[in-house]
Amino acid sequence: MATLSLYGQSILVLASLILFTSFALLAQTRALPLIRLFAWQGILLAVTTALVAWVTHQPHLYVSALLTLGLKALLIPWLLIRLVNRLGLHNEVENPKANALVLLGAAALTVFCYEIALPIMRLSTLLTRNVIAVSLAVVLLGMLLIIVRSKAVTQVVGFMCMENGLFFAAVVATYGMPMVVELGVAFDVLIAAILFGLFFLQIRDSIDSLDIDRLSRLRETDE
């Protein structure tokens, strides 16, 4: 630890903060703070990317940092907040049972990720290889968020959170993907967000709720 440069240390701190935002997303039960937390995760991601760009002198990473900031920290949260305001979801509180247990499970999941990522980390020669486990954890925690929550807004945030994890892994472990891929993914995410928005309005109109537990007609039962 003491042998790492200041750069390495800051990457580690940022990584742990990103992991923390993932945990905080799991702990947060109200829609607006949830989206705000997601925005913070985007900002942290952008800062990390910019830092990597600065240290490794890779100008194209600045572009991805800007993209991340614009999309994940500003645009998508803004879209989501607007949606929440329009649909009047501020006061909807999710009440996941045994939230403490979910959080402990998330901690166990993180350890599991570390165990899984060990072989990959042994291959890598980068200073920041420890972070791979964190990014994997962020992906899985996003998935966990989707599983344990029933409100559609949370699901979208969980999905975006998974994407954040992948992006983080790409930036830190291999110093970014090729520009074309990155642009493509960013565009995909944006489109996904817009589609989700439209989709919300639709299901809101048809089933009068955004609780996806009510979308359960697709099963083999005799009604």
């Binding site: 045994a98 166990a108 350890v111 570390y114 165990e115 060990l118």
Partner: protein, 674 residues
């Protein structure tokens, strides 16, 4: 010489048991003689045990008793010596306590002779388990212990609940004996002979050793009361007479711990870290669930019985840590964990017996076992109250008492996790240590509740208001245990030096680092890592108390301290019913950890008929039951019933069918032996 003392430890209680048979003829003399003999047995076993720990020697012997060709092999080594000493201390305390306590049964429905006889046999059986050196004698003594304690549990068999508890206890005890026998059987299959020496020398493949370990863990765990096998414990321990509860909770559970240590460290020898992990997890779960269930009880003895589950869990946590470190190749830390577990064994024997004896004292004077009816006993039974407080402080793991030392050692063991290379272990160990901290804090909460509700405040019922202090013999018995709680808390270094010969025997190394800085300083790993000096702390504490009291106590102002009513918000007239009850005290915990229990809460509000908005009365009902029953035992029982009903179909009731069964059995046997 030492072995003769060991024999004495078995023979004297046995003699006491025989004498007790006469107690209906000469009640007074026999009672004195019985408890004298029992105390002598306890004293002898302390001497034998401590002597063996000091010398570190091993003595073996052989007696031609029992079946022909199957001589009894006996052995006294530091491990059995340690447990002999623990047993001896508690037996002596109980023998001091007993004479005054059993007087209440003198003209009862049950003969006193039965109580005395089975008590003696029970103690003798426990001592014999500790001395056994072959499978046959071990199982024989184990059964003596289990069966005699069954009769003690059902001593007051006029109550149906006691009979039910006794049956459950018997069932579980026999199940545990069966599992232990199977575990021994696996080892014996690879060994030549049934002595422990032969079993130790056997080369058992890892898979079979693991199978034997699992069976032993289940068997001894059942008897020790690990979650989820604990269900018999809170039923059986409270219904026995209190001094017997002290023996059962304080000692019999320790004999199960002894059996486990003997089996794993003494016979299987090649310990795997995965076993340690299993033991650690079981121990942590037991500790946490034990204390959470305890905190919801309001029957004092039942609460204490659940705390035994918790403490057994802490002991197994120490053992699990020790096994993990041994299995990963860090024997020094393995020694530390083993010492922590043994220390906690000693401590739990002391404070749990003390608390059970204290609850017996309350029962004797008030016939009240329910906390909700107590209150203010500190003014009626001041000395019992002080001794009980020491027990509460010790079990809550507060410095400078003994419970703290063993938990501190367990923490220190868990903290050495950085030597391990496995990440999962590195994450699991600190988390289990944090859960241990939670357990300790919850235990403190529970005993604030117990002491606060039972001894402090105002008396809630008339019986409590008329309680008196108990006889001196009972106070001496409790006082002895309370004193030892303090001594073992203040002098941990000397105690560890004594316990050290157990790991020296089992793991061939001691813990020299613990006492390298003299008796004042306890430094389990090294002075750099952690140190604790209980004597200096106590000195400082006492000095400060004296200084504060001396400076502040008004000698010049002679006037007595003014007494006044407590603050009643100006409404006037505080009554005992306004005090916080035990159920109310544990309400926040109940709310936070609610998924742990099956809770049935009902509140009925009755409105006044004439005034529609006025509440006439509120009725609150709360039922708390163990989750383990519906989860584990009821399905098991249902399955068993299903199977037996299937098998029951072969009972047709026709003679010819039975003849046919015999006929086919005969044919099969003939074919087999052809």
């Amino acid at each position: 010489m030492i072995l003769v003392l060991g024999y004495g430890a078995v023979v004297l209680p046995f003699a006491a048991a025989l004498i007790a048979l006469l107690s209906d003829l000469f009640p007074r003399t026999v009672r004195a003689g019985f408890f004298l003999l029992l105390a002598a047995g306890g004293g002898v076993s302390v001497v034998a045990g401590v002597g063996c720990l000091l010398t570190g020697g091993i003595v073996t012997g052989q007696l031609g008793l029992g079946l022909p060709g199957l001589a009894w092999h006996l052995r006294l080594d530091p491990l059995s010596g340690f447990f002999l000493a623990v047993t001896g201390i508690v037996v002596v305390a109980v023998a001091c306590y007993g004479p005054a306590y059993v007087r209440q049964y003198q003209n009862g429905q049950q003969p006193l002779s039965a109580l005395g006889f089975f008590t003696g046999i029970f103690v003798a059986g426990m001592q014999l388990v500790l001395l056994a050196n072959d499978v046959f004698l071990f199982m024989l003594a184990w059964e003596i212990m289990s069966l005699s304690s069954y009769f003690l549990v059902t001593y007051q068999h006029q109550h149906a609940a006691n009979r039910r508890a006794g049956f459950l206890y018997l069932l579980m005890a026999e199940g545990s004996a069966l599992l232990i026998l199977l575990a021994f059987g696996i080892l014996a299959a690879f060994a030549h002979g049934l002595t422990f020496g032969a079993l130790r020398a056997a080369h058992v493949p890892v898979e079979w050793a693991t199978a034997a370990f699992v069976l032993a863990l289940l068997g001894f765990g059942l008897k020790a009361g690990l979650v989820p096998f604990h269900v018999w414990l809170p039923e059986a321990h409270p219904v026995a007479p209190s001094h017997i509860s002290a023996l059962m909770s304080g000692l019999m559970l320790k004999v199960a711990v002894y059996g486990f240590i003997r089996f794993v460290y003494g016979l299987v020898v090649h310990i795997q870290w995965r076993w340690g992990l299993a033991v650690l997890i079981l121990g942590t779960v037991s500790a946490l669930f034990g204390v959470l269930y305890a905190i919801m009880q309001h029957d004092l003895k039942r609460l204490l019985a659940y705390h035994s589950v918790e403490n057994i869990g802490i002991i197994f946590m120490g053992l699990g840590l020790s096994m993990i470190f041994i299995g990963t190749g860090h024997p020094v830390l393995g020694v530390l964990g083993l010492i922590a577990a043994l220390y906690h064994t000693l401590n739990h024997a002391l404070f749990k017996s003390l608390l059970f004896l204290g609850s017996g004292a309350i029962l004797l004077r008030t016939h009240e076992g329910d906390l909700e009816h107590m209150g203010g006993l500190i003014r009626r039974m001041p000395q019992t109250a002080l001794l009980f407080l020491i027990g509460c402080l010790s079990i809550s793991a507060l410095p400078p008492f003994n419970g703290f030392v063993s938990e501190w050692l367990t923490f220190q063991t868990a903290l050495q996790v950085s030597v391990l290379s496995n990440t999962v272990l590195r994450a699991v160990l600190p988390v289990s240590a944090a859960l241990l901290a939670l357990t300790g804090a919850l235990a403190a909460t529970c005993f604030v509740k117990v002491y606060g509700v039972a001894f402090l405040g105002r008396s809630r019922t008339r019986r409590i208001r008329h309680a008196r202090e108990v006889a001196w013999g009972m106070r001496v018995g409790m006082g002895l245990l309370a004193l030892l709680c303090l001594v073992f808390g203040i002098l941990p270094t000397l105690t560890i030096r004594l316990i050290e010969s157990v790991p020296r025997l089992l793991l061939h190394r001691g813990l020299p680092s613990a006492s390298v800085h003299g008796w004042l300083w306890l430094t389990p790993v090294s002075a750099r890592v952690a140190s604790y000096s209980a004597p200096l702390l106590v000195l400082g504490l006492v000095l400060m108390l004296a200084l504060g009291y001396g400076l502040l106590h008004p000698r010049r102002r002679r006037a007595a301290i003014r007494r006044s009513h407590a603050w009643d918000c100006g409404f006037g007239g505080l009554t005992p019913r306004m005090q916080y009850t035990s159920t109310a005290f544990s309400m926040p915990i109940r709310r936070i950890f609610s998924p742990v229990w099956t809770l049935k809460e009902q509140t009925e509000v009755q409105m006044d008929d004439r005034e529609p908005l006025r509440v006439a009365g509120i009725r609150y009902q709360l039922q708390i039951s163990d989750r383990i029953w519906p989860l584990l035992y009821e399905p098991m029982a249902r399955g068993l019933q299903l199977v037996t009903r299937r098998i029951g179909r072969i009972q047709t009731g026709r003679v010819r069918t039975y003849l046919a069964y015999s006929f086919f059995t005969l044919l099969l046997l003939l074919w087999l032996v052809r």
